[in-house]
Symmetry: D2
Subunit: 446 residues, 4 copies
């Protein structure tokens, strides 16, 4: 049920129009099940894909041309994918309409939080009066078979306990927990089980939502997506992943370490099968070396015990429930959690921005966590992303300011990921793309 | 599920805040079943009524102080009224948020139409793919017992045929059809029967929504309320009423007489019990004398035959369905219908505005219909509304421009209403509060 | 979904077949809304009515020939009536199949109770875990307009409090409470409100179920129908009626006066509008004179106060709930209530059976109540029923054994009903059709 | 909601009582997920298991003592298992009550068919007006991992096409298709997907129903279970299995080869992954050698093509739908299919019964199919079942009457199954436990 005006916006191929975004997201949704994990490859392979919007009885009819055949069964679109297309249209139009206005009298941080709230409410993702039961699962999308089976088992145990799953869409650790939970929910006859996928236009093509996702939400950017995870979800389980997963962990630590959040219980569990301990050992050591022991108290690590993870999560959610009751906080949206503006803003990894980071322990741990998250983001860009590699070739390694020891920790973290084959890079090819900038005085002295 | 920001708006007692509107509408909703039909009386009687908004788990809790006791059963709010309060909050906040922005790049007429659409969609009042079945019922809220029973019978026959009812809320012809239809819907086991009430803040206190209304929608002003009736409803049944009902009839004729709407079928049936023929004879004669025969073809009059009305409505809705199918129009919103801007704007009955009307037949019939609607509105004000009576006392009768014969028709219409006791005025007290202005030239000549 | 075998049974016009019963019940169901209250008249008027059962895809298709037109709207059967036809088929087949076998190893009284249970369960009329909320309404089907409006108001007040209604089907006091409750349930948005109608083949033609009834149950005979009322219902409201209503009151007293039932709370309220007090005064006096004060404590009388009745019922149901909880009794079926076998057996009013009654106070009150119920039944037959009148003409008045004073009370009760126009008999025509039999000894002495 | 009388039956530990059956079935249901596939082992391991029936508010409370812990999550029974317990109680009581009486005036074959119908209807397993979509899956419960994954893929492809799954409960080919379909149904958002499990008391302990089964039905014996499959299901997919699966195939051929069934389309597809062709080759050759080419036309074999199986099934169901429409047959129960009495009766494999079989081709193919099914049943007993082995030791090999070549085919079939490790027997241990009986005349001649 769209107005002619809204249809026109979707058809608008000009700069301000929504057509380009719509086509990109629709393609991602249709391309589910694909193994391609690069946006560029996807867009190239389906260069001829087109989506034509026509009106029929003032409803919208989408004509899909040259769409991936995996989205169809005997010529009919899979119903789950049909619903995802609907979610795409819903969210793109809503953002377009409401974004700038829902709360234009608020300061930026509150405004971001309110926009996330409005988007989730509009998507019917806020269910009031339902006891906290939504576990966010983070982790890599290209984990190995053994790890994948483990994520299914964890999902199964969570599902047996009536918990719902929220992930970032895509394969691997994003999909396994949902599949496991789906079987468990069937056994427990939970009819309205939730498989929430939160994506954003920049990442959706690389991480196509699985059709099991029965609530797809497209947030306007990566930071709002992260904020949606932590305000909508009631706890987080982290599976092994790559640098992206490490970044998400640092994002979360940047929040949990804030004093304002000190008394807010937030289940934060790292887990993987036996054989994958190394990933979390690496991350744990890095956190210990840089942020210190206080940060290590924010999470717990459970190895090879899906049942234990689920029992722990269930218990921890009881604390969450009790705390929300006690403080009059909603069950459906975590307004209380303080997210520092630094984590709500996008970080662009240029040489200048990288040089502007402060990577020393002479600052509060939560600030260092936020700085490290940015550094990690930049280093990955410099190592494996096209524009980053070119920038390094042109201007030399990033100069970072801070402590030698923090640099060394960073270096160890990354080379360990390379060893564990968690980055698309060979052992021999790995070279740190950063170095400690000498203090100005020293430089002159040389 | 409101954001703290939205709660603050509802609590805001300042000029721009929503508190005042909220209190007024809430009181109206709570005061259902009352016989008071004057906004002022209602507000005075419940001078001490207050509504306090508090938050509980980020939901809203409304504390009602000195509320009308008829809204409660053994100390508990009637569920239907509770839902009406929810509708009030929903619509007031939505108008506040979206009004100016949903379509600020459109011209005023399209913008009005789009605002009505957005409000109805937000209120979940648009049900796509459902065959046209919503009959709007207009008529007086202070009709006699015999007429009231008749409206119930018509509602019953409509309901037996699966039709839904939409009225303007309030007692009399607004309530009877719903009660009748409710019994019929129960017999036909129609679980999702609709009893739509469309009101606006200015009128809601005088015409409290009946709790049978299961979809209450508060439009921002009277013109959008009228537009909502004709775009959401699929046909109209008019019962006897007073001058207000006559105004609504002229509004509708102002639309149906437009050439653009010539081919759009729109069931428009006037009906009343035996003994009430006079009302429609009076109106019909007035239309014949002023707008002519073409206008008389736009409606049909059925006397004392509830079964016949329902059969006719059901048949006519088949034409509506066929036409919408043929033209690709939505079943849920009548975008095609052209509503001239003159009918979308408010008319303020001052001496100047009245003098500016053109009441001659030297113009298209649809324009005369719109002018007559305004004249009627002004004359009623001059006869029975406090500010109008004062204005007449101060400045003399309204001077109207146009034809003698049109004036005479107007005069006959009104005195006949007085005779039929359809206006709150005695036969002896009735004096026309208007006169034909002499043409300029003649005046000078004297 | 019937088996071919079941279809054959329904089509079987022989003595043991179900066709005759099916036709009779179906006609009753289709004849709703009729004013005829005599089975014979109904059957005669629709002499040509036929119901043909054919199979279509192994479902049953009922072809109705010469059916009452009031059952149709524009040629389509009203959905409520369609469901009633389904109930008829369901219950007739079930009784046929299961009756003799469900519990053939039980003694007769327990067997009757179990049959009633099985029938209600099969009809989905037992809703476990729902707090007691089903009020049975008894009273006359030919009450005056004023009394009818009162039953609607009582139904409305019961409905506002979330109570459901159960009656014996038919017009008057059987229909009014349902109509009132339907409006109240709509206001309270109670989606699964129950309007239970319990009938039996012998009475259904005279008391056609109203289509508002959304659970129609056909019990195999009058005694099981009465037992269904008191085991399924949680309380009883009695409106003014005729002798039939008085019989029902005596049936209920015959149960409540049993010692075994002494501690089982059972709301039993007599109520009527102002102006109808006389009915209950008459009944109350009769009970006082015959059964004494203990019996008068079993009920309460409320005049002209619908609100009061509902508040009282609601309160009393709390006691019922508490008692069932305390004693582990089901909410959905009152197994505990002891119904003496005398009330489970049919009474045939022959001269011999009448002479066998003991109408003296030299027996427990509950036994006298049962005896009086039978006497009343016989006297009515002798006064107004064809076979009874003939029997009196042939054999003279019934000879009754017992006390003079009880006879006098009976006589006063009946002549008062005649005065109040509660019996189809004129004041002048009323003659007692019974007399006190002299003791044997005395007779010889003459 | 049980009557006290029904509760007493369930508690009755005497011979005629239901306690023993209830305990056995309940244990099976609780033991799901176990790898034990022998009834005896299960019963022994849970020797101390007890089920106590108590009443609480006239509902039944089951106290489980020493129940398998796998049925619980954190001390709470898995909901799916709870529903299975309910099904057990429902079906045991219903059989007890209705069995002998539902149709005691019918001849035995029709009576069996009607009992199956009554049981399925009572279990709400008959859904009228739903187009044929229920695929029965047969096959072994101890297939290898590769075959198991294949059954999941076939289930997934069936599920994507909206088809439902019915199996005999238990692991392997009984569980895989349901798991696959569950994921597909989730993607297609099919809310009321059916996973029907049909068991019987004799087999349920060895083949515990998987909790995904959302409609568990306990038929009273093995023959009614088989009849339920073919009358409720709309088509059959056979996966690799053992001798049991071969028996089921012969049962089905015994039906399909009947002339009366010649025009009734019945999808019958044998399928397995690449690498498992041998099973169906063996079976196919056996059928060719014994029953001939006509029998081979009754099924089709598809290897390594889950997508192809589903497309074929979907197509074939269209023929089923068309045929049922054309012949007025129900969608929900296949009354038309003629099942010869020989297949409705139990076969006891004694030496006498075995000797009574006629294993020659000098009879109609459908009769030979039925005879072979019995022979197969007996031979398996003689080879691997305790009582059978003892009988062979005591009385020597079974003497069978018929043709040499049929004996040879039987022998080849069984030794091939042994080679393929489809029977619990070693290659060296396999010895035919039967021989061709010499014709009487010859014997005398020796």
């Amino acid at each position: 049920m769209l107005s002619p005006h809204e249809v026109a916006k979707l058809q608008d191929k000009s700069q301000g129009g929504l057509y380009r975004l719509l086509r990109q997201c629709a393609l991602a949704v249709l391309n589910c099940g694909s193994e391609l994990d690069s946006t560029r490859t996807v867009l190239e392979r389906y260069r001829n894909f087109d989506i034509q919007i026509t009106q029929k009885h003032r409803g919208v009819q989408l004509n899909l041309i040259n769409a991936p055949s995996s989205a169809f069964v005997d010529g009919e679109l899979i119903q789950g994918i049909r619903e995802h297309l609907f979610s795409v249209v819903r969210d793109l139009l809503y953002v377009e309409d409401e974004f700038s206005v829902c709360c234009d009298d608020l300061e930026p941080s509150a405004m971001a939080t309110n926009i996330v709230f409005h988007l989730l409410r509009h998507a019917d993702a806020l269910h009031p009066h339902v006891k906290p039961n939504l576990m966010v699962c983070w982790g890599g999308h290209s984990i190995n078979r053994h790890e994948y089976e483990y994520t299914k088992k964890v999902g199964y145990e969570l599902g047996l306990r009536g918990l719902n799953i929220c992930t970032g869409c895509g394969p691997g650790a994003m999909k396994g927990p949902m599949k496991g939970a789906a079987i468990a929910h069937a056994k427990q006859r939970i009819p309205a089980a939730r498989y929430v996928g939160i994506s954003e236009p920049g990442i959706i093509a690389a991480e196509s939502p699985n059709p099991i996702v029965n609530e797809l939400i497209i947030m306007p950017d990566i930071e709002k997506r992260l904020e949606a995870f932590v305000r909508l979800g009631h706890g987080i389980v982290v599976f092994p992943g790559g640098v992206g997963t490490a970044e998400e962990i640092l994002y979360m630590l940047g929040i949990l370490l804030r004093e304002e959040n000190g008394k807010i219980p937030f289940p934060f569990i790292f887990t993987g099968p036996e054989g994958s301990e190394e990933y979390f050992e690496t991350v744990d050591r890095f956190i210990a070396e840089t942020l210190g022991e206080r940060a290590r108290n924010m999470y717990e690590i459970i190895v090879g015990d899906p049942h234990g993870v689920a029992v722990r999560a269930k218990e921890a959610l009881k604390d969450v429930t009790a705390h929300r009751r006690a403080t009059g906080e909603a069950f459906h949206y975590n307004w209380q959690l303080h997210i520092p503006p630094a984590l709500q803003q996008t970080f662009e990894p240029t040489h200048a921005n990288m040089a502007g980071l402060n990577l020393s322990r002479n600052q509060p741990d939560y600030e260092l966590a936020a700085q490290l998250r940015c550094a990690l983001s930049g280093i990955v860009a410099g190592n494996v992303k096209e524009p980053g590699i070119q920038a390094i070739e042109q201007f030399g390694p990033f100069e970072l300011h801070g402590e030698e020891s923090v640099m060394e920790s960073l270096d160890r973290l990354l080379s360990s990921f390379v060893d564990q084959r968690r980055m698309k890079i060979n052992h021999e090819d790995y070279k740190p793309c950063f170095r400690l900038a000498r203090p100005k005085g020293e430089q002159t002295g040389t």
